[in-house]
């Protein structure tokens, strides 16, 4: 090794390569803030309860001096909902990104693998049994975790192939069938509650639910981001990752557990909100590529921004009522889904 090499430019070259990606992260954070503020400002209620922009902002800045009506509307209702939109979008975006990385498949997401469906079934069982709203969330959570475990144990012998995804789809059909069976036997009132729950809505949010979600996400996300480089190694293939020193089996089990937890807590309070976990990673891959130090946070931030924007849209579609946000995200999600399919058909490598 006689060649002499000057290294002065190393850091500079590397910084130049990633400069744009930092800008994207900052831009997305700003977008999330804007969307959340808009979300708080947007009213769904009838004109009698309308607050002016100034009243809302005053109430946010000095909550204790606000009128009791403004306090209830802004602090007790709109603020937790708008933060919940960000947190759940963030959580679903991150979970989708990790899932796509560990399964090497851009169509994997908590939603396409049936986590939402299973949660819906759990909630339906609780509704049919006449349990309360806490039990409904708990059952949704339990079934969301159950489907993740089922997917994992059915597909674990061949983790690197499509078998995890296939077992996810099989479980999805199973829970759909069980759901249909349950609804067939349920009363009209119960069916209405079931359908309403399954739309996916942020309106049921209150501070305790928000707090639980935030805690779970705040615990899981750092544990995931910490392994960014290992996930990046994984994008080069399982064999390659092993040769680079990644304990692939262990990383996959750990990731699968964490994203199951995040996806389950996200759907259990809101019902199934589709496509965030698919759209977030897709946009992130186009924006920053596969360096997971950027891909994971960008995917999560995209998820947060999209769900927050969807929450705004859900309130302005039809004045005086809130359209279920799950329907909005699914309708937004379809173009993303098509663009994914068409990109794959072109045979081009993902961006």
């Amino acid at each position: 090794m006689k060649r002499n090499v000057d290294n002065d430019s190393g850091r500079a070259v590397y910084a130049r390569q990633n400069h744009r990606k930092y800008l994207i992260i900052i831009t997305l954070i700003l977008l999330c803030i804007v969307a959340a503020v808009l979300d708080i400002l947007t009213a769904a209620a009838s004109p009698a309860y309308r607050l002016s922009t100034k009243e809302v902002l005053d109430c946010l800045i000095h909550p204790l001096q606000a009128s009791s009506a403004a306090y209830v509307i802004v602090i007790k209702m709109r603020l937790p909902i708008s933060i919940m939109a960000l947190v759940i979008g963030f959580s679903l975006g991150a979970a989708g990104a990790v899932m796509q990385t560990i399964l090497h498949n851009p169509l994997a997401s908590p939603y396409t693998l049936g986590v939402g469906t299973a949660a819906g079934f759990g909630a339906s069982v609780a509704i049919v049994l006449g349990l309360g709203s806490i039990a409904t969330s708990a059952m949704a959570f339990a079934f969301a975790m159950l489907i993740c475990l089922m997917i994992y144990f059915l597909g674990r012998n061949n983790v690197n192939s499509g078998s995890l995804i296939l077992s996810g789809i099989a479980c999805l059909f199973l829970f759909q069938a069980l759901q249909a069976l349950l609804q067939y036997g349920a009363s009209e009132d119960q069916n209405q509650s079931i359908v309403f729950w399954s739309f996916g809505s942020l309106q049921r949010t209150d501070w305790p639910k928000l707090l639980i979600t935030v805690i779970v996400v705040a615990v899981c996300v750092p544990l995931i981001f910490k392994d960014s480089w290992k996930y990046t190694a994984l994008t080069m293939g399982d064999d390659k990752a092993v040769s680079l020193g990644v304990d692939v089996a262990r990383l996959k089990i750990k990731s699968f557990f964490l994203i199951s937890l995040m996806a389950a807590v996200s759907v259990c309070f809101t019902g199934s909100i589709g496509f965030i976990g698919l759209a977030g990673p897709h946009v992130a891959r186009m924006l920053v590529g596969e360096d997971q130090r950027f891909y994971l946070p960008v995917s999560a931030l995209c998820g947060a921004a999209i769900l927050s924007a969807a929450s705004v849209i859900s309130k302005i579609i039809q004045l005086g009522s809130v359209f279920p946000v799950g329907i909005v995200t699914s309708i937004i999600g379809v173009p993303f889904f098509f663009s994914l399919v068409f990109r794959n058909n072109r045979g081009g490598k993902r961006a």
Partner: protein, 265 residues
């Protein structure tokens, strides 16, 4: 930093008989040892069993420590292992791919030391002009060169490379093997390669292990192993072997297959 393999055996799941049976050999420090043998004889299987990707029976010592006593992390800290399998096409930049070689030390914010080592290694392999290029845009040979850079950038104490010269052209074959040889001599590493090119194996290896039917058929210096009889037995090919006056190592000229097929069209 030697490698010792003793009575290693591995059977694929659901297979009746083992692929590699009772294999023992040693790789001393500062030397290149190459495993040779026909396709499917178990060269890659042997390597994967040695480092624990396949769970074989038998003992392997790296640097006098039994493999089973080493944690996953310590094992890969010690060994620079390059697979024969190609990496998935990734949009990562070449610099990022090389940096991944230092996975054990990488932080979320990459340290200057890691970047400098990666840049130095790319320059040694004449890859510096590719550093910003996405990995998927490289040719097969260039990707192999990046793999080599990735393997050596972590400064391993033991090198294990499965077909490092696959897909490489004449100049890159020489460059990679010269680099591996210099590294082995200067850092006194135990280096184990698998090579399909017998002439390169003879020229760059200090020691050869010739496999046949899952056992060590012959081992020793290139002069001892690369003989007309051994090659005929192990590969089923009549060859002419002569000592090159330029390199002083045995050169193999294949003549005909022993079981010659008559092709009729």
């Amino acid at each position: 930093m030697s490698i010792k393999v003793k009575n290693l055996q591995y059977t694929y799941p659901k297979a009746k008989s083992p692929v590699i049976k009772d294999i023992s050999f040693e790789v001393p420090d500062g030397c290149i040892t190459s495993i040779i043998g026909s396709n499917g004889v178990g060269k890659s299987t042997l390597i994967k069993s040695m480092i624990g990707i396949f769970k074989g029976i038998g003992d392997v010592w790296f640097n006098d420590e039994n493999k089973n006593d080493l944690s996953h992390r310590d094992l890969y800290h010690l060994i620079g292992y390059m697979t024969q399998e190609n990496a998935l096409l990734s949009s990562l930049s070449v610099l990022d791919v090389v940096l991944l070689g230092r996975l054990g030390t990488l932080n979320i914010r990459v340290q200057d030391e890691d970047i400098e080592k990666a840049m130095t290694m790319m320059k040694l392999l004449h890859l510096e002009h590719l550093q910003g290029r996405p990995f998927y845009a490289l040719s097969g040979g260039q990707r192999r060169m990046v793999d080599v850079a990735q393997t050596l950038v972590r400064e391993p104490k033991i090198i294990i490379m499965d077909e490092p010269t696959a897909n490489l052209d004449l100049v890159n074959e020489l460059q990679v093997l010269e680099l591996v040889k210099s590294y082995t001599r200067q850092k006194n590493t135990a280096t184990l390669l698998t090579l399909h090119d017998l002439n390169l194996a003879a020229r760059y290896s200090d020691h050869l292990v010739l496999l046949k039917d899952g056992v060590v058929f012959q081992e020793g210096t290139p002069d001892e192993v690369i003989t007309e009889e051994n090659i005929k037995e192990a590969y089923g090919v009549e060859v002419h072997v002569h000592i090159s006056s330029k390199t002083g190592t045995p050169m193999v000229l294949p003549l005909t297959a022993v079981n010659k097929t008559e092709y009729i069209f």
